[in-house]
Symmetry: C2
Subunit: 115 residues, 2 copies
DNA sequence: TCAAGTACGGATAAATTTACCCGTATTAAA
DNA sequence: TTTAATACGGGTAAATTTATCCGTACTTGA
């Protein structure tokens, strides 16, 4: 496992937000789970561009950041579900408004951001 | 200069937002400029933890993403100012609400995010 | 018994971001 | 004429994130 060498900075609230939300697939994961796609296998099929390994890692981070809870039925074969915590739920409107901004300005942004 | 090897993904609006806002010092920069700290030297003194070089690079990206404009007086000695574009201004309320979320949950998040 | 489905994780490579060190040029003031 | 201030950028190292490849264990159905 990778060990950080410099401390995370959390001076302002936005850094806290970024810290939680940063990660190539985290928003997708949160969004999927919000929409009822809650099992690892389902998530992987829904986000096929990410490898299983990466999704697993990012899910783990979201859990450790208090955004998700992992529900393990401890059955064999295994069954696992992820759910949003209260904190995770509180993120949804923020994500929505942020996405709204992006969509509203997509036309301008697409040109500038790509490449 | 670094050359990307994989394309930027812009499927949803939030990715567009993230693409613009990601970068260790970008939010600080936007915030400073919004608050009237608009010259490179000032910015560097305001954000001493970042090297000049990094700020310069991130400012350049913000310009290329349409968030800032660079106003060069073309004098000697040089005088340069950065200003928010309309698009950049439209980012301010989003940043505020995002930061608000972080502050509201700071107590929980600080414990979980640090380390 | 073999293939496919469930899920997890170590080790390491590749990509990307951030930091550091070097240097350029001009002007005003000490 | 040296020092400090203005501003910019190349080249490369270090840190971090993401991807790839390996393997584990158990169960159900063909």
């Amino acid at each position: 496992m990778y060990k950080r060498k410099t401390p995370v900075t959390v001076d302002c609230g936005l850094h806290l937000f970024m810290e939680v939300v940063n990660g190539k697939w985290k928003i997708n994961l949160i969004w999927c789970i919000y929409n009822g796609i809650i099992r690892p296998g389902e998530l992987q099929r829904k986000i096929p561009n990410a490898t299983r390994r990466v999704l697993e890692t990012q899910l783990k981070q979201l859990v450790s950041h208090g955004i998700l809870v992992k529900k393990d039925y401890e059955t064999k074969p295994p069954k696992v579900e992820y759910h949003l915590t209260e904190l995770g739920e509180s993120l949804i409107p923020i994500i929505k408004s942020t996405a709204k901004w992006g969509e509203e300005n997509r036309e301008i942004l697409e040109k500038l951001v790509v490449n």
